[in-house]
Amino acid sequence: MSTLAEPRGPGVAARGSMTPIPHRVVDVVHETRETVTLTLEPVSDGIVAPVAGQFTMLWAWGAGEVPISVSALAADGRLVHTIRDVAGVTKTLCASRQGDVLGVRGPYGCGWGIDAARGHDLVIVAGGIGLAPLRPVVHAVLAERSEFGRVSLVVGARTEQELLFRAELDEWWHRHEVDVRTIVDRSSPGWSGSVGVVTGELVGLEIDPASTRAMVCGPEVMMRVVAQHLTDRGVAASAIEVSVERNMQCAVKTCGHCQVGPFFACTDGPVLPWDVVASLLTVREL
């Protein structure tokens, strides 16, 4: 059984770092109808460079602050965040234009166990916007491909039009270094891929349970179903990591909004081993 006392990633930013640091929007990419990728550059001093799986608190002046995962690791202090417009603060963030200034706190939380996955097969499963926090993992794998065994990426989305990073998915697929599979809930004219839930694509994957590690990010129901499928096939629960999403407000384990039983998603997570968190995710209203 995993324990959270083990070092699992970079630590939380200092508790005193509650002041948003101004960053300027230098690039805006509209990924889908309601999803935008922003590249931010510090106006003066930046924040500590994040690692894959961590998040920052993004502050839109006059609107508020929300936790957003990093969707790529950029150089020179730049930050890349992919944000879905689910109203409120995210609507304001998604409407950002080049030159706008946003506040940034962080980075916070524990990242994906990329080092632990070296020498293993890796199954990456992303649903919807859940591909954003996992994209840096794929980048890291492709940068050091020989360090990993068989690597599979299964991406689920509501429709073809809502698949994130479409061009990049095509590029990864054509490189043949990662087994890329996509599946949508609903087909649309011209869609030649699979239709169904992500586990439909997992069925066809060859999995060696003893040497497989998995990273899963998406809606909680989806993560539960995927983790169940993988453990049914013999993958150890401790070898499966999920990214838990909760209502994070302070991001420094103080306000208690993101508490999941004995854990805080903001500092113990958001990436948590399945054996630690599985029983908690079936507790209603937790």
């Binding site: 879905r84 689910v86 649903g127 509501r158 087909s187 699979s194 439909g200 066809g204 989806m222 999403e245």
Partner: protein, 159 residues
């Protein structure tokens, strides 16, 4: 060249892996290998359901034809899946259309051969029906999850 028997091919398929070898041998007697080209129709709604398919490789799009809109794909069946439940129940008519999404290799099992045997051998019949019931449960659960629209905007956060 390695020659495999139909029973061995069934044993290599996920669906049949756990059944007793004597039943598998019997099923092999009702089976044949089939290949479908991309876009080829595998079954047609309303026509006689003469059996089912165990998909070995490739992908099958399952759906319903809508006038002037073509096949509306509702789910995809993959290698390791079985295709077709209608052969088990009267009126033995396909309820769905299925088209090969890519080149598909499958094992076709014939109802005319299978059903009389299963009626006479209830233990084997019960086992096979249980296996199909499990497939149906998984299909229903998959449908439920999609009805939940887990990727929908009201149920997920912005990340």
């Amino acid at each position: 060249m390695v020659v495999t028997t139909m029973a061995e091919e069934l044993a290599a398929h996920r669906f049949f892996r756990t059944i007793p070898s004597d039943l598998r041998e019997r099923l092999a007697g009702c089976a044949r290998n089939v290949v479908f080209a991309p876009g080829e129709r595998i079954c047609v709604e309303g026509t006689h359901a003469s059996g089912f398919f165990a998909i070995r490789t490739g992908r099958v799009n399952v759906g319903i034809y809508v006038p002037h809109q073509g096949l509306q794909v509702l789910e995809t069946r993959h290698a390791g899946d079985v295709l077709g439940f209608s052969w088990l129940f009267p009126p033995y008519r396909w309820q769905i259309d299925a088209v090969a999404g890519e080149r598909v290799r499958a094992i076709e099992l014939h109802a005319d051969c299978l059903l009389p045997y299963l009626e006479e051998h209830p233990a084997g019949g019960y086992l096979l029906v249980r296996m199909f019931a499990q497939e149906m449960e998984e299909t229903i659960q998959s449908t439920r999850l999609r009805l939940l629209d887990v990727y929908g905007r009201d149920r997920v956060h912005a990340r």
